[in-house]
């Protein structure tokens, strides 16, 4: 695979990566969201693999494989289980309507591009130029978490943030060290697990996973 093709592929993957994030913001069906997240996980894996290939690094390849298993495999699987267990959450309920969300996402993407300039400047390789994509996804994920009522969509928001950060890590530096990545991944998996259990408990105690119900604790 030539360098050009590789970088073209990388750009393509990054573009799609951002698009999937926007898609998550746009779609209402939870099942569609999970599919989009799976796709995003796969795209992230692609980016990791492409970069690993570029650096000819076996360790990076292993990290990429791990990422793939976790983000395109385990995490979506867990989400689907939540979705099955909590049947009332077919649709997300946005607090901000979809068009406004997209508009906000556009603004956040711009901010991501602006803010990522030091990262782009510092990155050694051409792939660094795609870093802003990751940052934009982080912000979009954050926005999603802040504006969706269902518990599961908030989990998806957290996962988007995580994907975005992983993308930044890969694009800007070729991936954080293996040990760190292992720890981070384990933490992520556990966090999702915890959230899954908590979603079940929410459903059991509140009878729904509507986060607006969570207003017992306030001042």
């Amino acid at each position: 695979m030539s360098h050009d093709v590789s970088s073209q592929l990388l750009n393509l993957a990054c573009g799609l990566f951002l698009l999937t994030a926007l898609g998550v913001l746009w779609r209402r069906q939870v099942s569609a969201l999970v599919s989009l997240l799976t796709l995003q996980g796969a795209l992230l894996t692609t980016i990791a693999v492409l970069l690993a290939a570029e650096h000819h690094s076996a360790a990076a390849l292993a990290v990429a494989a791990g990422i793939g298993i976790l983000k395109a495999g385990i995490v979506p699987w867990m989400l689907r289980r939540v979705h099955r267990l909590v049947p009332d959450a077919r649709e997300t309920r946005p607090l901000v309507n979809i068009s406004a969300s997209i508009l906000a996402a556009a603004g956040l993407t711009l901010l991501g591009y602006a803010a990522a300039r030091p990262l782009v400047a510092a990155a050694s390789s051409a792939s660094g130029r795609a870093t802003p994509v990751g940052l934009a996804v982080v912000l979009i994920g954050f926005f999603l978490a802040a504006t969706r009522q269902r518990a599961i969509s908030q989990i998806i928001g957290v996962l988007l943030i995580d994907n975005g950060i992983a993308a930044v890590a890969f694009l800007a530096t070729g991936g954080v060290p293996l040990v760190v990545e292992l720890g981070v991944s384990a933490d992520l998996a556990l966090a999702v697990l915890v959230l899954q259990i908590l979603t079940n408990r929410l459903h059991a105690t509140f009878g729904s996973t509507d986060l607006d119900e969570l207003r017992e604790l306030h001042d």
Binding site: P118, L119, I161, D162, V168, A169, V179, G183, T205, L217
Partner: protein, 494 residues
């Protein structure tokens, strides 16, 4: 003890105790947890003896200098009190059938894992590992917050996990930025995130990138440290967790998260100059103090009251850190320890009040000093300590922060901060007076029987020890002075 043993012991002992807790009877396991906490304290002291002269111990991913040792002492001391008080807490819960034996076991396991993660975070040489350990505390404590499985506690747990995960994720983004900057200086792999390396090469790091990283790290770890405006999870989680866990979370988890900020700051100060982080910290400090003061005024729940007081104290810690310099940082570190001890006692006695009165509302607690004088004395003294009254340690540390602030040209910020502290003081004093003073309410039906006065002497001893320590530290530091100076020197960036 060989130094290396002391390096591994604090992280290992709790995990070992956790393993024990999974198999032993709850009572034995509870005492084992006290032992583990004491071991942490002991190894902290051992490390302190070794590093007080400025030397550093490194082994694998772990590393200890005076700052680490000091933090370990703080963690160990607070954990010892919290675990010790936890014994009687668990017994009360079990006798009142509020907790099943299985839940008690799970509780003990999780507390030890929590403690272990905190020690690991403090000892980590690698910034990645530091992050992993801090995030792990969130995961471990999630179930501790939701321990009671009521609507409120599940809600609190959800908010806790979501808000902290998002926050800590931002810190990871910051860590990635630092990594990128380190890679740009030619480092590879794990080394690039090693504290030792980063500190040595701080001057070469790309300032623009570090500027971005500094903001993100502050935001991220600031979430865990309970700084406004990322503090929202804190009152919910602290008010719902079992009392000893609240004590640990409020007393040391916040400080451990802040420790990460301290570490990063020494590096960013070299790479970037102190102005940027100082501005951010000042904003966070004043925002935290303002939020705490405002929400304390009309507070209705005494555990939330304590939680907001934690936010207030983290605001002061942030203020001191923003000021910088040896005096300010020594004050900050003393503040961390003093606050940990006082908050542990306050939360543990609040737990006993909850157990006695069975209501978290301030309005439900009346005439405590005539009903249960011992409990009222401990709670009242802990509050006095938290309000920064002499001879408790927090008086000295707040005075030190204020002094350093004026001397450092941040007099306006100190003045503003202490006006906010005054508002908080008045609010807390008013609520506490309402709870403690006055005649016992006429009908005992409101609060039920004073349920067994929470277990006699054994229940009080850890709290009394905590208060005594807080007083002692307010009068005379003794041998702790050396390690405090050394730690302040390191936190100040040398």
């Amino acid at each position: 003890m060989r130094p290396t043993v002391a390096l591994y012991a604090p992280a290992a002992a709790p995990f070992l105790a956790a393993a024990f807790a999974a198999v032993l009877a709850w009572r034995t396991a509870a005492w084992a947890s006290v032992l583990a906490a004491a071991a942490t304290l002991g190894s902290g002291i051992a490390l302190a003896a070794h590093t007080a002269h400025g030397s550093t111990l490194t082994s694998g991913f772990l590393r200890a200098d005076a700052l680490t040792a000091y933090l370990l002492i703080a963690v160990g001391a607070v954990a010892t009190i919290a675990c010790w008080a936890g014994v009687s807490h668990l017994r009360d819960e079990l006798t009142a059938d509020a907790t099943a034996v299985g839940a008690a076991r799970r509780y003990l396991v999780l507390v030890q894992l929590f403690l272990g993660c905190m020690c690991l975070a403090v000892l980590a040489d690698n910034l990645g590992l530091l992050w992993v350990a801090v995030e792990a505390t969130t995961i471990v404590t999630a179930f501790l917050v939701g321990h009671r499985r009521t609507r409120e506690s599940v809600e609190a747990a959800w908010k806790y996990v979501v808000l902290c995960s998002v926050g800590i994720a931002i810190a990871f983004l910051g860590t990635v930025c630092v990594y990128a900057a380190a890679v740009a200086t030619g480092a590879h792999g794990v080394t690039a995130l090693n504290w030792t390396y980063l500190h040595a090469h701080a001057a070469e790091l790309d300032p623009d990138l570090i500027r971005l990283a500094a903001g993100l790290v502050l935001l991220g770890f600031g979430t865990k440290a309970g700084l406004a405006p990322m503090h929202s999870w804190l009152p919910d989680a602290h008010s719902q967790a079992p009392a000893p866990v609240s004590a640990l979370m409020s007393g040391v988890l916040l400080s451990v998260a802040f420790y990460a900020i301290l570490r990063y700051k020494t590096m960013t100060d070299i790479a970037l100059g102190p102005d940027y982080t100082r501005t951010l910290l000042l904003i966070a400090a004043l925002a935290s103090l303002a939020v705490a003061a405002l929400l304390l005024i009309a507070q209705r729940d005494y555990k939330r009251l304590l939680a907001y007081s934690s936010i207030e104290h983290m605001g002061l810690v942030a203020l001191g850190t923003a000021v910088g310099g040896r005096l300010a940082l020594a004050s900050v570190l003393l503040h961390i320890l003093g606050h940990g001890l006082a908050k542990a006692v306050a939360f543990c006695s609040a737990g006993k009040i909850l157990h006695t009165v069975r209501s978290p509302h301030i309005d439900a607690v009346r005439g405590l000093a005539s009903r249960t004088p011992g409990l009222a004395a401990h709670f009242g003294l802990a509050i006095a300590a938290l309000l920064g009254m002499p001879p408790f340690a927090l008086f000295s540390s707040e005075l030190g922060i204020a002094r350093a602030g004026w001397a450092g040209g941040l007099g306006w910020a100190v003045a503003a901060a202490f006006v906010l502290v005054l508002v908080a003081f008045t609010a807390v004093a008013r609520h506490t007076a309402a709870m403690l003073l006055g005649e016992q309410p006429g009908s005992p039906s409101t609060g039920g029987e004073p349920a067994s006065t929470a277990g006699g002497g054994q229940g009080w001893l850890p709290l009394a020890v905590g208060l005594a320590a807080a007083v002692a530290l307010g009068i005379w530091l003794g041998p702790l002075q050396r390690i405090l100076d050394a730690a302040a020197l390191i936190a100040g960036g040398s």
